[in-house]
């Protein structure tokens, strides 16, 4: 076997036992790696209905078929478990050196189950698995603990994934950090914390062999060249913060907890302004030819010394969305979230929800531990982030995420809890992006711009972004599957415009790396297989149609400004789009998957678990009405 090892390492933190699962080339070809393989491992290794923060949940890592080779942007890994935020699949990706090291230690994936009685570091040294006492690392930040573990083990080549205080304290949106890159979303850091695993350290000594080294090197050179051109300019020059002004111009920049769609201080928190005044360095993940990560540093004033790699999503969530109109506090907040080990996006949206509650009198100053939690109060936001990580005072409520916090506080605050399925929303106001609105509603891990690229249709003008019509479902389906292929190979999507014919090129390069024959059609089908598998997991865990929906604010509050002033997405519009989407997917009216569909996709092993008998499908009423209207 080339590139892959055909081996998955299972570690039980309770018993300290480990075992090896051999997997075939056929199995690996089916799920590829990353999100696909990690999701399959979660499906197979978690019992139905398990507590996400209990010992039965499986925290699964899966490598990229390209990790540790020169294939640009391919050294990434996926992590998945049952999410403590959503109760559904929680899959997340990270870049960089950790993926390479899992592979060089001779593993395609890691499955961590159980819960240690005392805090441990799991040290995987090729085939050897050791449990080290983690007491001395408790309370340490993410990067700090990685440095300390490397120092204590006496080898700088060891790669470490670790959680910060947020993961230790089971903040539901805690993340796992490796070398300053994050498995950011859906709370995998809390799952790791529930197992009392502070860190996973890996050292691998094996070379990675590929089927056609010279072929892969030549493909690499081509992609390196193309990826210095116009196809990646946006990412290389300003990084994703370039989106601030784009979103503001479109009237879709979430501002003050998504209550506004344009921000009066957008210019001062823009990618352009950041580049001019704060950016000190562009950094790449391992094997990256693009380097989108813009590190910004504050050199004077109240936040002097703050430094963070700042992307658009962190920036929107902690900046405009909290009414904060200057970069220094945003850089500070992003740095603290990264060190404390919590997802910047969920943290920002949780803080903005609390701010709106405060402004509306739903939470009093007393409720907020004396903090004056007005929009734009950066010091209060900074204090709140620290409290959340420690679950101190109001931080304990907010550590639960917006869904649970708003259910507890009530008083209408659910209306503006900006979450779907329990995961906080990304940086797009979808009232002005109606294809993406449905894309976020139906997302398997909750609302996500990385799993659904449906926003491309709205942003690029492929459709009228303020209206809906049948056909959007098919667009969303194809964009989801396209994303799922990138997320499973794994390749970073920022390379997506660098291929002549993505599926054909990627399939060919996959074969060069692994020696496993793969056609463009087979690769494309993998996208649908992976997406459907994730949906199947959700169905097994109790998903119903009501879970595919949007927050009240998107469905009832007209946008107050911008090009889409007065627009919102109606419940009927969203219902129609979702029905259209289920139909495009070949699912039932209720969004369930027919057994025949699962079998067709090669998921026959789970067809009995979650599939419904055929014959209950019918054309959704709304699509039927649209069709007959067309006929008229």
């Amino acid at each position: 076997m080339y590139s892959y090892s055909g081996r998955i390492l299972h570690v039980d933190a309770t018993t300290r036992q480990s075992r090896v699962q051999e997997v075939s080339a056929e199995f690996l070809k089916k799920y590829l790696g990353g999100v696909g393989l990690a999701s399959k491992l979660v499906y197979d290794n978690t019992p139905k209905g398990c507590d996400p923060l209990g010992p039965d949940n499986a925290l699964c890592f899966a490598i990229s078929a390209f990790a540790g080779t020169t294939m640009p942007v391919g050294t990434k890994h996926g992590v998945a478990s049952k999410s403590p935020l959503t109760g559904f699949i929680g899959d997340s990706l990270s870049g960089s050196h950790f993926s390479e090291m899992i592979k060089r230690a001779g593993w395609d994936g890691l499955v961590i189950k159980g819960a240690a009685p005392e805090w441990v570091v799991v040290f995987i040294d090729d085939d050897d698995v050791q449990f080290l006492d983690a007491t001395r690392y408790l309370g340490m930040g993410t990067i700090e603990s990685q440095q300390a573990i490397r120092r204590d083990l006496g080898d700088e080549n060891i790669r470490v994934s670790s959680i910060g205080p947020a993961g230790e304290n089971l903040i539901r949106y805690a993340m796992i950090d490796n070398d300053g890159r994050q498995v950011g979303r859906t709370g995998n850091g809390a799952v790791m914390g529930s197992k009392k695993v502070k860190a996973i350290a890996i050292r691998g000594s094996k070379p990675i062999t590929v089927a056609d080294p010279e072929g892969l090197l030549q493909e690499t050179l081509k992609l390196i060249e193309v990826s210095q051109g116009s196809a990646t300019q946006k990412y290389r020059v300003l990084g994703t913060p370039t989106n601030v002004l784009n979103m503001n111009a479109m009237g879709t920049l979430p501002t003050r907890n998504f209550s506004e769609t344009t921000f009066e201080h957008a210019e001062k928190v823009s990618g352009e302004y950041m580049k001019e005044h704060y950016t000190v360095k562009a950094v790449g993940c391992s094997g990256c030819s693009i380097a989108c990560e813009q590190w910004a540093a504050v050199k004077e004033g109240k936040y002097k010394g703050a430094i963070a790699g700042l992307d658009y999503e962190s920036l929107f969530a902690l900046g405009p969305n909290c009414g904060i109109g200057e970069l220094p506090p945003i850089i500070h907040l992003a740095q603290r979230c990264d060190e404390l080990g919590m997802d910047t996006m969920s943290a920002g949206v949780v803080v903005s929800w609390a701010m709106e509650c405060y402004e509306r009198g739903i939470l009093s100053k007393e409720d907020c531990d004396g903090l004056e939690l007005k929009f734009g109060n950066d010091e209060a936001a900074a204090a709140l982030v620290e409290k959340i990580a420690k679950r101190e005072g109001i931080g304990d409520l907010l550590a639960e995420g917006t869904k649970r916090a708003s259910e507890k506080v009530g008083k209408g605050s659910e209306h503006f809890a900006m979450q779907v399925k329990g995961l906080e929303m990304p940086g797009y106001d979808v009232r002005g992006m109606k294809t993406f609105a449905m894309g976020l509603a139906v997302g398997t891990r909750g609302p996500c711009h990385n799993r659904s690229l449906a926003y491309e249709a709205d942003v690029k003008g492929e459709v009228n972004r303020f209206t809906v019509e049948p056909g959007r479902g098919k667009i969303a389906k194809e964009k989801e599957e396209y994303a799922a292929v990138f997320d499973s190979l794994v390749l970073c999507k920022f390379l997506r415009n660098c291929f002549d014919d993505f599926f054909a090129d990627a399939a060919r390069i996959y074969t060069m790396a692994t020696g496993i024959p793969l056609t463009a059609e087979e690769l494309k089908a993998t996208g649908e297989r992976v997406w459907t598998l994730k949906k199947a997991f959700n169905i097994r865990e109790g998903w119903t149609k009501a879970d595919d929906w949007l927050p009240g604010r998107c469905l009832h509050d007209p946008m107050p400004s911008g090009p889409g002033k007065g627009v919102f997405i109606t419940e009927d519009e969203l219902r129609m789009e979702i029905d259209d989407y289920y139909q495009a997917r070949g699912w039932t009216n209720e969004g369930l998957i027919p057994k025949s569909k699962l079998i067709e996709l090669g998921l026959e092993d789970i067809a009995e678990d979650v599939g419904v008998d055929n014959g209950v499908m019918s054309i959704p009423a709304s699509a039927e009405a649209a069709a007959s209207e067309e006929a008229n």
């Binding site: 540790g68 070379p207 050179l221 950094v283």
Partner: protein
Amino acid sequence: MATQGYQHVICDPTKCIGCRMCEYACSATKTGAFDPSLSRIRVVRIEPITMTAITCRLCADAPCITACPRDALTRSEKNGAILVDEDKCDGCGWCVEACDFGAVVLNPATRNAEICNLCEDQPEGPRCVQFCPKDALILATPEVLRQQARREIVARLFEELAAED
């Protein structure tokens, strides 16, 4: 440590993004597999943003040559690279200790010291330079670097003067 006028691979830390493409390309070229532990160029990253790549600097009076008890290391007359005689080298590692830059690799499989040979067998020259996506790596002599630095500083000065007008 003074250097002779030989070309060697030099990294500009302001351009280096820490991607380690040079390590992957070097090891694949030298061993046929991707194994950064055998790469003759290594990237060092000190969090959060300090990063650069280091390889053999072709030192004058190279201490690795002096340190070798078996006279296995010699300097190439063609390009100044440090050559390792595989038959004489027994992997004792004194050259590793002598090198101030950590540029000597000990290959546990062959029990040989391995040092950047500037890819003299590659038609395009050093593979690490070829694969560096950000042109942070160049093959140059110290004098060429000095010339470049002078040109850049003068160009910048005139840009600033022009901007002030």
